[in-house]
């Protein structure tokens, strides 16, 4: 069987459904609706129309030669998911699931969000389709991503700060699951990554695989051949699965996922789940996760809120085990340097998440050499990260900041 044919619920020993019985009926209903929609030309046409007239698909590719000079002279090509409506790849999945929710007669969407990108995308779809929307966001994240909270509220969604547990993304997922258990008749849980119980990992991947399908053809058209490597950042892993999937059965194309190593994969402060974690059960699926000896989830750390998650999608766990994709750690500092490099050499400000893929690509290009072609998923734009970057590089007008901002912010220009 081709690697592209995997449909879950299991990827090797990973995946499955580790959830309360109360949710099984809803997951079965969703699975059936999704499988029907997948072969329904009306659904597919509706989604394609939305992507053409609302998302802005196909997204372009951009070759970045001035950036590539720092990557051993390899040809580096960016897939520009940052140019999608709402500023990242997240909209691909959100529109697909929102359409499905409409088909199921659900009137209310709930979502978890870390950085706020998925929450903003879900709030956008809810506004577009006239649905009620509640977004769960860890209290720590509502504080560090206040502008995205405002965006969601402006779009008409309710944002609920989660004060339980570690008050971050993993707790927001727990709270969304609790809401879903209690309101499953009216509500669709619009999970934002390729994790969670079946059918989410397969369904979310399928809504994002358009990224790789477009890019594969675009690179062929530009260079006359397939790339030597495809790179992406990996938190939960949705943008990486989206661009990897079209290439899974092209053995000559190497796949690299870059995990957030935070302050270093050898320190306790990282989010490098495959690099440093081990298999376990979290949020409904078996996969790699960061946990202590007792199986208690360990908090992750990354400068990028979108990668700050102690789990990873089960298909990535499987691709890592069978050796089809490699997963490598990239630190906060490496990612921030790559962010600035792309901004200064190409006039493109990437999301800090995507900057992890760029940092990995700089290293990879030096290994693969000047004749190689590397396709990078530029999964999001960096506008949302300006406060973080401004503090990190100490380029904010400090007079405009409050005292505590200055205190915890100025880390200096380290590059």
């Amino acid at each position: 069987m081709a690697l592209r044919d995997e449909q879950g619920p299991y990827f090797g020993e990973y995946g499955g459904r580790f959830v309360p019985e109360s949710l099984i009926a809803a997951l079965d209903e969703l699975d059936a609706a999704y499988r029907a929609a997948k072969v329904d030309p009306t659904f597919q046409a509706e989604l394609a129309e939305l992507h053409a007239t609302y998302t802005g698909r196909p997204s372009i590719i951009t070759e970045v030669p001035r950036f590539a000079e720092h990557a051993g002279g390899a040809r580096v090509i960016l897939k520009r998911e940052d140019l999608n409506h709402t500023g990242s790849h997240k909209i691909n999945n959100v529109l697909g699931q929102a359409l499905l929710a409409k088909r199921l007669g659900k009137t209310r969407l709930i979502a978890e969000t870390g950085a706020g990108q998925h929450g903003v995308a879900t709030a956008t779809a809810a506004a577009l389709f006239g649905m009620e929307c509640v977004v769960y966001m860890g209290e720590v994240d509502t504080e560090r991503q206040a502008l995205n909270v405002a965006r969601m509220r402006l779009l008409g969604s309710e944002v609920i700060p989660v004060t339980a547990g570690s008050r971050t993304l993993k707790d927001a997922i727990n709270e969304a699951l609790r809401d879903w258990v209690a309101n499953v008749d009216s509500t669709h849980y619009l999970l934002g990554t390729v994790a969670g119980p079946h059918p989410f990992p397969v369904m979310v991947r399928d809504f994002h695989k358009i990224i790789g399908e477009e890019a594969r053809q675009q690179v062929l058209d530009l260079t006359g051949r397939l790339p030597d490597a495809v790179t992406a950042c990996v938190g939960g892993g949705s943008n990486a699965m989206g661009i990897f999937h079209a290439f899974l059965d092209d053995p000559e194309v190497a796949l690299f996922g870059y995990e957030a190593a935070g302050e270093g994969a050898e320190t306790p402060r990282h989010a490098a789940t495959i690099t440093k974690g081990r298999p376990g059960v979290l949020h409904g699926a078996r996969s790699y996760m960061l946990q202590n000896e007792d199986g208690q989830t360990v908090e992750s750390h990354s400068i990028s809120a979108g990668l700050d998650y102690p789990g990873v999608g089960p298909e990535h766990a499987w691709l890592a085990d069978i050796g089809r994709a490699r997963y490598l750690p990239v630190t906060d500092d490496e990612a921030m340097s790559a962010m600035r490099l792309l901004a200064r050499t190409e006039g493109i400000i990437p999301a800090i998440e995507s900057a992890h893929a760029l940092a990995g690509t700089l290293e990879l290009g030096r290994v693969l050499g000047p004749d190689s072609v590397i396709l990078v998923n530029l999964s999001g734009r960096g506008d949302k990260d300006m406060e973080t970057a401004g503090k990190y590089f100490d380029i904010l007008d400090t007079a405009a900041l409050t005292a505590d901002h200055v205190d915890d912010g100025a880390r200096g220009d380290t590059a």
Partner: protein, 261 residues
């Protein structure tokens, strides 16, 4: 018939039904949690459901979340939970089922956990996030050791899934009274009664209802159609507010719901 099932059957035969009381191990500290479990057993609780604190308890409401988080922050280890089972069962003649999310058992080792739970005198496991479809290792380990295994049944479950829950469970089937999470509610959902009838229709002989039960009146109401009533958050709140004396008094009050009226 296993210990849990025979205790429930005996209470039912006596005319009412069983009271099952949940408390988390390690809350407010390990010593007090053991004393509290012994106290509720001495005050009318027929079966103890001892919860193992877990970092991501998706089935639990705010009261139990806060208690288990406090236990974890104080350094609770899974090993402590097994030690608690051993001490409780050495002091009171009441079956102790361990309620645990699945990952801690996976990481401990399913067979090792089953062996040590059996050695500690534990009766079995209640697994809120493990459905029979994913339970191959646990089904094998519980067959080997004779431990009970309690799976959940929900109002949303199909008849086929209810039949699977009944066939897979031993001790009792945990009927979730409402589509929701743990926590006191003013009314026990009427869905519970329908669910218990559906479970009986597919062969259940021992069915206990949980979620939202917090008063003796609710216990009495549930026992009119079910074999047991499970109370959690109300006991945890009493322990949190007034310590062991308060949780003992709450258990005694709840147990009045089990007497024939």
């Amino acid at each position: 018939m296993t210990g849990v099932a025979s205790v429930i059957a005996a209470r039912k035969a006596a005319g009412s039904g069983a009271l099952i009381g949940y408390l988390p191990a390690g809350f407010p500290d390990l010593r007090t949690s053991i004393e509290a479990a012994v106290a509720i057993a001495e005050n009318g609780v027929d079966v103890i459901e001892l919860g193992l604190p877990y970092s991501d308890p998706v089935m639990d409401g705010s009261v139990i979340q806060a208690a288990t988080l406090q236990a974890l922050n104080a350094g609770f280890r899974i090993r402590d939970g097994l030690d608690a089972v051993a001490e409780i069962t050495s002091r009171v003649n009441v079956p102790v089922l361990v309620m645990t999310y699945w990952n801690p058992v996976v990481q401990y080792g399913v067979d090792r956990f089953a062996d040590e739970l059996l050695a500690a005198g534990g009766a079995g496991l209640i697994t809120p996030d493990l459905i029979p479809d994913e339970a191959r290792d646990w089904l094998a380990a519980s067959e080997r050791t004779g431990l009970d295994r309690v799976f959940l049944a929900a109002p949303s479950s199909t008849d086929a899934r209810l039949a699977q829950a009944v066939a897979s469970s031993r001790g009792f089937v945990y009927a979730v009274s409402t589509m929701g999470i743990t926590g006191a509610r003013s009314d026990v959902d009427s869905a519970a009664k329908t669910l218990v009838a559906r479970l009986r229709a597919v062969g259940a002989t021992s069915t206990c209802v949980g979620l939202g039960i917090s008063t003796p009146e609710q216990v009495r109401e549930v026992l009119q159609y079910a074999d047991g009533a499970i109370v959690g958050s109300a006991l945890v709140k009493a322990l949190s507010d007034g310590g062991v004396p308060a949780v003992a008094a709450t258990a005694a009050r709840l147990a009045t719901g089990c007497t024939l009226s």
